[in-house]
């Protein structure tokens, strides 16, 4: 794992990004707020983990970052250059931001051989044929597959092998930023470990910055330098990975962490926070704080006013009224300062 180079300029800066989908429910047109006013920066060479339950907008955010969806508001900057709101993305951005998809089965064109799939981005960029073959072979070896696999078809490969091919396709343009959208979630545990370690090796070898999206907190902890916790389209907590796992502040983060099975009996009793309900529909998110319907500490203010991001501790932001000077819980605030 590489550590965050804090003084380097951020390779990715997401600022106030909002994405709403229009849909129809019955006869009404509705707006689904998938990502709501999300901001963060990712320093070069580090890994940002994004966690949250399914449907919290993680995948949408991933697609906005790489430009598959255009944000309705806010900007995504790659190494200082903003992504265009409309029109073609510049060649530099295409070459430097790539994505690895969740489903190793549907992410590969069933009619294309492994070599064709990996070589496709090179072909689009106009790389000459012999160079394509050479680079495809190299990247195949880098992801731990023999170059002979380039003539194989996806249906001949196992799930883990397919995911290696997906990673190879993302890497063949030698990008700077790779967004991994649940890249290991569909795999068996043993394969998952192989792929996670492969990703870490590649990160140092290719000098990559990762945005690692997953609902699996264990993997995120292992992979990430910083973590953003998302709930219903909003980032509710942002801090160093170690900090989140030792002392989560937001009640939602605490709930997520307490749901991880642990083998350590001394930790079991702590932080047990019962989940008190289902995720509300993103069609009609609760007023004020979106988490209040499930929050065991919800106060009156939570229904009236949406909490702002507060830096409760250095390098540790949380969006919760409990840590607000005006409405908050003095004991909690004191506890954060006491550390």
């Amino acid at each position: 794992m590489t550590t965050a180079a804090t003084d380097a300029p951020p390779i990715l800066a997401v600022d106030g990004v909002t994405k709403t989908f229009r849909a129809r429910a019955g006869l009404h047109r509705v707006r689904i707020s998938a990502v709501d006013n999300v901001s963060f920066t990712v320093p070069a060479g580090s890994t940002l983990g994004i966690v949250g339950e399914s449907g919290c907008g993680k995948s949408t955010l991933a697609r906005v970052i790489v430009g598959l969806h255009r944000a309705d508001a806010g900007t995504v900057r790659f190494a200082g250059t903003p992504l265009p709101r409309r029109g073609k993305r510049s060649r530099t951005i295409v070459e430097h931001t790539q994505m690895v998809f969740q489903d190793p089965y549907s992410a590969l064109n069933p009619r294309a051989s492994v070599g064709e799939s990996i070589g496709f981005p090179l072909k689009v960029q106009g790389v000459p044929r012999p160079d394509i073959d050479r680079r495809v072979n190299k990247v195949l070896e880098d992801v731990g597959l023999h170059p002979a696999y380039s003539t194989h078809y996806p249906h001949q490969l196992s799930g883990g092998q397919r995911q290696r091919v997906n990673i190879a396709r993302a890497l063949v343009l030698e990008p700077k930023l790779v967004v991994l959208d649940e890249a290991v979630s569909a795999l068996d545990k043993s394969i998952q470990a192989q792929i996670v370690n492969l990703l870490l090796d590649l990160q140092s070898g290719y000098d990559l910055t990762y945005v690692f999206i997953s609902h699996d907190l264990n993997v995120v902890e292992y992979m990430s330098d910083q973590v953003a916790v998302m709930y219903l389209g909003q980032v509710v907590e942002f801090c160093d990975a170690s900090m989140l796992y030792q002392a989560p502040l937001h009640p939602y983060s605490q709930m997520l962490l307490s749901s991880i099975p642990t083998l350590d009996p001394t930790q079991r009793a702590e932080n047990v926070l019962a989940d008190s309900g289902d995720i509300p529909s993103p069609l009609n998110p609760p007023s004020g704080c979106r988490f209040r319907t499930r929050c065991p500490f919800a106060m009156d203010i939570c229904a009236d006013k949406a909490p702002a991001m507060i830096e409760a501790r250095p390098q540790h932001s949380v969006s919760c009224h409990l840590f607000d000077r005006e409405y908050g819980d003095p004991a909690r605030i004191a506890a954060t300062k006491g550390e």
């Binding site: 697609r63 998809f101 089965y105 549907s106 064109n109 960029q125 002979a148 249906h155």
Partner: protein
């Protein structure tokens, strides 16, 4: 025994893994199809029928249009007089007429299917891609045509255009376009949002390129499976139109029309009358069986 290094192990692992030869999708389909004995048998019979029809002028010693009235209505298996399938009411050799008739019937099966596959794929893919008003209007027009029972629409179009084989072909093509475009549209919608198309978009490929390399090969897959089942249906509809007097006009032999014109002699030589019907059935059943086998072979769920 010598010590194995990590690299040696890695090399061995590679070797064992890669020993599987590359198999393209189509070779898998071929292998699976050939394993289906019924499908292969149907395909062989079908190829024989098609070949016999295509080469009819070189195979048949008789004229399909002019017969000897003296030889009229001989029963089938009249090998002594040289008419293995008998003769019709004008003394024309039935085998000759059936093979010549097969040319038109097969044409009436293939051409509409091909036309509908091409036009339907274009309409459906277009509608699935552009969405919006144009796509919606196109698909609603298809829904409206689809709201007719197939044979009724064919009859309506046929009776409006007038009798004749080419009009029958046009009518059946129009009948088949809506279902094909529906399949193409839903398949397109499914593929456009698939992760491999997203990956292709990420690599900066143009819409045309994605259409050509990612979308069409996969849409066509579904269309091929569906269309292969349409040939038999097209033949039956065309034969029905001929039977109703809307199809091919006398004296050109076509199976549906032959059945209609022989109908009156059914009490004299029922087996001869049945010949064109049996050929329609045989061709259609082999087409449908082969199509079923193809569907099973192509539904590989390999990804």
């Amino acid at each position: 025994m010598t010590e194995l290094t990590a690299d040696d192990l890695r090399e061995r692992w590679y070797q064992s893994e890669v020993s599987v030869p590359p198999i393209s999708y189509w070779s898998v389909v071929r292998r699976r199809f050939l394993r289906n004995k019924l499908g292969v048998a149907a395909l062989i019979v079908l190829i024989l029928i098609i070949a016999a029809a295509v080469f009819a002028p070189w195979i048949c010693p008789y004229d399909p249009l002019v017969g000897k009235p003296a030889d009229r209505l001989q029963n089938i298996f009249s090998f002594s007089t040289g008419h293995p399938l008998g003769t019709d009411e004008q003394g024309r050799d039935m085998l000759t007429r059936v093979l010549y008739g097969g040319r038109l019937s097969l044409l009436a099966g293939f051409v509409p299917t091909l036309v509908a596959a091409v036009v339907g794929t274009i309409i459906g893919t277009w509608a699935g891609l552009v969405r919006g008003a144009v796509g919606a209007i196109l698909m609603r027009i298809m829904d409206m045509l689809y709201a007719f029972p197939a044979i009724l629409l064919a009859i309506a179009v046929g009776s409006s255009l007038g009798a004749g084989l080419s009009n029958t072909i046009i009518a059946v093509s129009i009948v088949f376009i809506p279902p094909v475009s529906r399949i193409a549209e839903s398949e397109t919608r499914k593929i456009v949002t698939s992760e491999y198309v997203e990956a292709a978009r990420l690599s900066g490929a143009s819409r045309i390129r994605i259409l050509r390399t990612q979308l069409l090969p996969n849409v066509l897959n579904e269309i091929i499976v569906y269309s292969s089942g349409l040939v038999g249906v097209a033949m039956i509809i065309a034969a029905s139109l001929s039977f109703l007097g809307l199809g091919s006009r006398p004296p050109t032999p076509e199976w549906g029309y032959m059945l209609e014109s022989l109908q009156g002699d059914i009490y004299v030589v029922p087996a001869v009358v049945a010949v064109p019907g049996i050929f329609i059935f045989l061709t259609s059943v082999t087409f449908n069986t082969a199509s079923d086998a193809l569907r099973e072979a192509m539904d590989t769920r390999l990804g």
